[in-house]
């Protein structure tokens, strides 16, 4: 860096040269702060392409399905009627990290996006343990290409309708098709391809074995009747179906696997939204201010930047018409700023609450937090009393047994711990989504599959459950039962879906 940094280009029009200059300067600042990032690649796209990207959850390549068309149509409608703007950026967790810049944006916006996505999100993808464990940035794009080709091939061979029906069923189970605890093997395109054929034949033979119905002699019956299958309940429905559904063809198993893999890839994003967005906001704010302090950015640039920034991190209060829950950008940004503050200028309260954090090196402490937490634990660990006061948080308990709602805790001395715990719970995907597991398969009888919903806080399943169960039944091929177990361990049978064999080829 020269002693007298050059001011960066001004004006709202962007050009490829100015983007390059901004990227270089922001990159320098990022290195000064020690951000560890993947290489990145900026791609300039039009608004229409942005909508395309939206429809396929941001992925550069994706297989075809009607539901993506539906999302495209609704985005397009909203955008064309001016009801919604498009997101400023889409960033893809891949190596190199792909960042989309929209053609319509002004230069300050492009700089904001570069700082936010190409350095903020990028470093989060590279550093956070969930992403390190569950996603393989270097392989995802290849895998998506592989997935699209497999699905296109299947469509050609077995008909679009067949494949569509299967995908519908898989999509319905996507949220209960993830491993929450097991560590998955790394994705690799070559290995996938190599092993695909092998897997197909092997899996089928396994399944056949499981369902062999040749007479085995009576003496074995006694032992078999006690055998439970699966031996342990299985939380990953798609995995279980892929491995054990008796009637699926090998190509169908392959598609189930693809949907499951992709669902798994997105699982960390759902668990770290608050941290990830907050982290990216923190860095675009910090880095652009850094450049401004060095007089490299003009006042006009900063005004435009701040306008966008404040819009993004604005938190309307609960009684405002604009309120739509806690804004993850706002809370995340505030929490990261707060951690920085606690490190740099701790108060007596901070020393009491965060003895290890107060006064430590902020870069190191933040890096530690970024690497080792997810939303739930991040809130439980780092939400400070000061921030609770600032956001004026309060907790309401809705218990159907009580006549009224009750305010359980507010931002005061007695309430801090409860509040923090409740908010952390709110970010726990495990309690936000129903816990449904594969409980049993009736091996000896009608081969029905029993799913069990473990009730949490007395919450029932929503009315969509029957529709989802129908999808499970199409995949399984035999009756599917659903039961629920409440917190006292009492089990109730809820419903059962049978598919009519003769209508098997129809849509559910």
């Amino acid at each position: 860096m020269s002693e007298m940094p050059q001011p960066l280009p001004t004006g709202s029009e962007w050009s490829f040269e100015s983007i390059e200059i901004y990227d270089r300067e922001i990159g320098c600042v990022a290195r000064e702060y020690g951000l560890d990032v993947y290489r990145h690649q900026l791609e300039v796209i039009t608004a229409e392409q942005m909508m395309d990207a939206y429809a396929s959850i941001g992925m550069p390549v994706y297989y075809h399905h009607w539901s993506f068309g539906k999302h495209f149509l609704s985005t397009e409608k909203g955008y064309k009627r001016g009801q919604m703007g498009l997101a400023y950026e889409i960033v893809i967790n891949s190596d190199p990290c792909i960042v989309y810049l929209m053609e319509e944006n002004t230069m300050p916006m492009q700089a904001l996006v570069i700082a936010h996505a190409a350095y903020g999100h990028n470093s989060f993808f590279k550093g956070n343990y969930l992403f390190r464990t569950w996603t393989s940035a270097e392989a995802i794009v290849d895998y998506l290409v592989f997935a699209r080709n497999v699905i296109a091939e299947c469509e050609e061979r077995y008909g679009e309708e067949e494949v569509e029906q299967l995908l519908d069923a898989c999509h319905a189970l996507m949220s209960v098709g993830v491993d929450r605890y097991k560590r998955p093997p790394k994705l690799s395109l070559n290995k996938e391809k190599e092993r695909r054929k092998e897997r197909e034949s092997y899996l089928q033979s396994q399944v056949n074995d499981l369902w062999r119905t040749l007479p085995q002699g009576l003496e074995r019956e006694a032992t078999q009747s006690e055998r439970r299958f699966p031996a342990e309940p299985e939380e990953n429905l798609l995995y279980f179906i892929e491995k054990n559904a008796p009637l699926l063809e090998p190509w169908q198993r392959e598609i189930v696997r693809i949907v499951r893999k992709i669902g798994q890839y997105f699982y960390p994003q759902r668990q770290t939204q608050l941290m990830n967005e907050g982290w990216a906001c923190f860095w675009h704010y910090t880095m652009l201010y850094h450049l401004y302090d060095r007089r490299q950015l003009a006042d006009g640039f900063m005004l435009e930047f701040l306008q966008h920034h404040t819009n993004v991190v604005f938190q309307p209060p609960f009684n405002s018409r604009r309120f739509g829950g806690i804004n993850p950008y706002a809370l995340g940004f505030a929490m990261w700023r707060d951690i920085q503050r606690i490190c740099q200028e701790p108060t007596a309260e901070d020393r009491e609450w965060f003895p290890d954090l107060a006064g430590s090196d902020w870069r190191e402490s933040m890096d530690f937090a970024m690497r080792n937490f997810k939303d739930e634990s991040f809130v439980a660990q780092y939400l400070s009393p000061r921030l609770m006061r600032e956001f004026r948080l309060f907790n309401i308990l809705d218990d159907p047994r009580e006549p009224t709602l009750r305010v359980r805790a507010i931002h005061d001395e007695q309430g801090y711990r409860t509040l923090r715990q409740c908010l952390a719970e709110q970010y726990n995907l495990g309690s936000r989504e129903p816990d449904i597991q594969v409980w049993n398969v009736d091996l000896r009888g009608e081969r029905s599959l029993t799913l069990r919903h473990f009730k949490y806080q007395g919450r029932d399943l929503g009315e969509s459950r029957d529709a989802v169960l129908k999808h499970v039944a199409t995949l399984w091929g035999f009756p599917v039962r659903l039961e629920e177990q409440d917190e006292d361990g009492e089990v109730r049978h809820l419903t059962e879906v049978r598919i009519d064999r003769r209508k098997e080829n129809q849509r559910p």
Binding site: K70, P317, I326, F394, D398, P400, L405, R406, Q426, D460
Partner: protein
């Protein structure tokens, strides 16, 4: 190290496949929406895209999620009134245990609304009509344009300069600009000649005049021979290739026996003819004639809406049409098409008169006459008389008895075949 990739010119319609699949999957619902749209639309509006809505619940993608029951604890921001232990009345809709009731009420959930493009809309419109593929593509095509001369303009490219026009303009300009000088010049010459005649040709005044004449001649000479604004260019403009005009008569029986369903089919029939005409003609006028025992020219709204009782005299409509043609559409300028829809009822003695009218006056004037009888049962007397007309004018007259929209196309078969050839 940094890579910036310009993707703006890459494939634009990445989602087109997904969009098509969406439309194909919900064709049933979309078709219904399109049918509603057709009922709402004017005939001449058929050629546009359309916003359609289909019920959200049909296209939902179900996932397991929590219902309404159970204990919930929420952390909210912006507390400005509560302290720990406060009790709050349950909001109305949150009344516990009424989850199923709420979902029943929720049946009228907002529709999923989106816009069909013109192609998609027509595609679905054609679908019902069982049109052959070739015809579909022809109708969906947008009119082609050709470039024709359209006089001259003062701007253009050098290759289009019209030399004659430009020089003529230059000459005119020079004449006009030099006019005042020449007038003075003439006066001066006259004065000089007078002076010379009086023998004062060497006088002071004569010398002055000569100097002035020389000055004026120089002036005239300095007028530019050709100037940029003299330039004229040949002008060519784009005009739609078939730049002719057509008038379409929609004749419909509105007697009591024509119910709503029959009228809807008739509307499809008129729309299809209209669509065909827009592909062939630049300018189209539509005349609506409805009749029972009396014929009346009405606007489109009245045409489809009103319903009268009483008998039917078809010839009244034909007479009215003939009168309108004679008054407003001299047949050498206008291409005349007529589409008639009826349920086949006619007053017994009137049918021969209709044939008479058609054969002697109407058919010679028009390009094509399409008649549909929307009925299930045995054909009526009008049909028998019309059949005779068709026998003598197979190229210009078509008729069909139809039960549903898919039967409409054969009426136009001859017409479409001709235009394709």
């Amino acid at each position: 190290m940094l890579q910036i990739i310009d993707r703006r010119n890459d494939s634009k319609n990445k989602s087109a496949v997904n969009r098509n699949r969406f439309i194909r999957r919900f064709k049933g619902q979309i078709r219904k929406a399109v049918q509603d749209a057709i009922a709402r639309r004017k005939i001449a509006d058929i050629d546009n895209g359309e916003r359609v809505g289909i019920p959200s619940k049909d296209i939902s993608e179900p996932q397991f999620h929590h219902g309404r029951g159970g204990r919930w604890s929420v952390v909210q921001p912006g507390n400005d009134r509560y302290i720990t232990g406060d009790e709050i009345e349950r909001p109305e809709e949150g009344a516990g245990g009424r989850g199923s009731g709420a979902s029943l009420d929720g049946e009228g959930l907002d529709d999923f609304v989106f816009t069909l493009s013109r192609e998609e809309f027509l595609d679905i419109f054609f679908d019902d009509l069982a049109l052959p593929h070739l015809i579909k593509t022809q109708l969906a095509r947008i009119a082609e344009y050709k470039r024709v001369r359209a006089g001259y303009t003062s701007t253009g490219v050098p290759a289009n300069i019209n030399v004659v026009r430009s020089l003529r303009g230059a000459t005119g300009r020079r004449l006009a600009a030099g006019g005042p000088y020449r007038k003075t010049l003439r006066a001066l010459h006259a004065e000089l000649a007078e002076l010379e005649a009086c023998g004062a040709g060497d006088g002071e005044r004569a010398a002055e005049i000569r100097a002035e004449i020389a000055r004026l001649l120089r002036r005239i000479e300095t007028l530019p021979f050709i100037d940029t604004f003299d330039l004229r260019y040949n002008s060519r403009i784009r005009v739609p290739a078939p730049s002719t005009q057509a008038v379409m008569f929609c004749v419909m029986d509105v007697s009591g026996s024509m119910d709503e369903q029959k009228k809807r089919i008739a509307k499809r029939f008129f729309m299809l003819l209209y669509l065909f005409l827009t592909r062939t003609y630049e300018h189209i006028e539509i005349v609506f004639i409805r009749h029972h025992t009396l014929a009346l020219e009405v606007d489109e709204d009245d045409f489809f809406r009103s319903r009268e009782t009483g008998g039917t005299v078809v010839s009244s409509a034909l007479e009215l049409m003939l009168r309108i043609v004679r008054q407003r559409y001299a047949s050498n300028v206008w291409n005349i098409y007529c589409a008639q829809a009826s349920d086949g009822d006619n007053w017994e003695a009137d049918s021969p008169k209709c044939r008479e009218l058609l054969e002697s006056s109407i058919v010679p004037l028009i390009q094509y006459y399409a008649y549909i009888e929307i009925s299930e049962g045995e054909q009526q007397n009008l049909w028998r008389e019309y059949a005779r007309v068709m026998a003598s004018h197979p190229q210009r007259f078509a008729m069909q008895q139809i039960g549903g929209p898919e039967d409409i196309y054969p009426v136009f078969r001859e017409l479409f075949r001709k235009s394709l050839a």
